[in-house]
């Protein structure tokens, strides 16, 4: 058992839509458990087995209806915190993901040896996709 972060969740407007979207990035469903209206849904990247990305819907009973509405607005406005997705080859991933219908907001740009691009999930969560500079060790 190693210590550290196990699950970090995103708010999404529609969990079915989200799981399909994150599938385009290579994530697979880890846990999909329902209890009434509540659905605990996490996905996992095949190269990162110790971490799960939660795809949660802001809705009652977890939060009240007015709070849920506020959270949906914040997500749709792109006001949620930055997210970073690491890849080996930013340009190749960009082409591949774009062909799958991912909405890119910035094409790959070279910055000081790193290459980065930006995309959003259907809900509005913004990701920076980064190919880190390979430091010769």
């Amino acid at each position: 058992m190693s210590q550290g972060v196990g699950v970090v969740g995103l708010y999404v407007r529609d969990q079915d839509e989200a799981v399909e979207f994150y599938g385009k990035l290579g994530f697979r469903v880890h846990t999909d458990a329902r209890n009434g209206d509540y659905r605990w849904l996490t996905v996992q990247h095949p190269e990162q087995p110790s971490f799960q990305l939660g795809l949660f819907a802001p809705s009652p009973p977890t939060v009240d209806a007015a709070t849920a509405q506020t959270l949906r607005e914040l997500v749709a406005k792109g006001a949620m915190p930055p997210l970073v997705f690491l890849v080996d080859d930013c340009r190749a991933s960009y082409e591949q993901m774009r062909a799958r219908g991912v909405e890119f907001t910035q094409e790959p740009i070279d910055r000081y040896g790193n290459v980065d691009a930006s995309f959003r999930d259907p809900s509005g969560n913004g990701w920076k996709m980064i190919e880190a500079r390979k430091d010769p060790k």
Partner: protein, 177 residues
């Protein structure tokens, strides 16, 4: 709607439609991606699939600033980064970030940041950067001018306090969110 929680029933949520906000965000993203281009309201409204009048009103409600002013902050942010990170002539930077003349660029730049492009360049080059470990794109956003008032209003305020300069209406350029 879930059952068993009477408190949430019958209270119509106020605010903006998330579906509309998502489309407004798309227009904002398009300005971010090409802030050097012209973005008349009609063009932005088309991206968001709404009327021009509806767009202008909804955008300001959603993001706190009118679309044109948002565009200005992005242009200044980009110009600031180019001044800091390159040795390109200021005229080139002005044209590259969407201005048609050096005069307009210099005036708006000073109105917003409080210093001229060349002053900012000299100061930034002299400063050491503690933000080296933050991804470049986020550093850039941290230096985005927080333009809470119109440029013309800022100009008026500065004229009126010329004899007793204060911090009133100053633009925070170094704020990290």
């Amino acid at each position: 709607m879930t059952t068993g929680n009477g408190n949430t029933q019958g209270r119509a949520p106020v605010g903006q439609d998330p579906e509309l906000l998502r489309r407004l965000l798309r227009a904002k993203d398009r300005m971010d991606a090409a802030s050097h281009e012209e973005w008349p309201v009609q063009r932005l409204a088309r991206v968001s699939c709404v009327s021009a009048a509806h767009f202008a009103r909804s955008f300001k409600e959603a993001f706190g600033v009118p679309p044109h002013r948002y565009l200005l902050t992005r242009r200044i942010e980009r110009a600031t980064a180019l001044l800091r990170d390159t040795d390109r002539p200021i005229l080139d930077i002005a044209l590259q970030t969407g201005w048609n003349s050096l005069g307009t660029f210099g005036r708006v730049f000073r109105d917003i940041t409080g210093e001229s492009p060349s002053e900012l360049r000299a100061r930034q080059k002299a400063a050491t950067h503690a933000l080296d470990w933050v991804p470049a794109c986020f550093v850039s956003a941290a230096h985005r001018p927080d333009l809470t008032i119109a440029v013309s209003e800022k100009r008026r305020q500065e004229v009126s306090v010329q004899n007793a300069p204060t911090q009133t209406g100053s633009i925070k350029t170094e704020e990290v969110p």
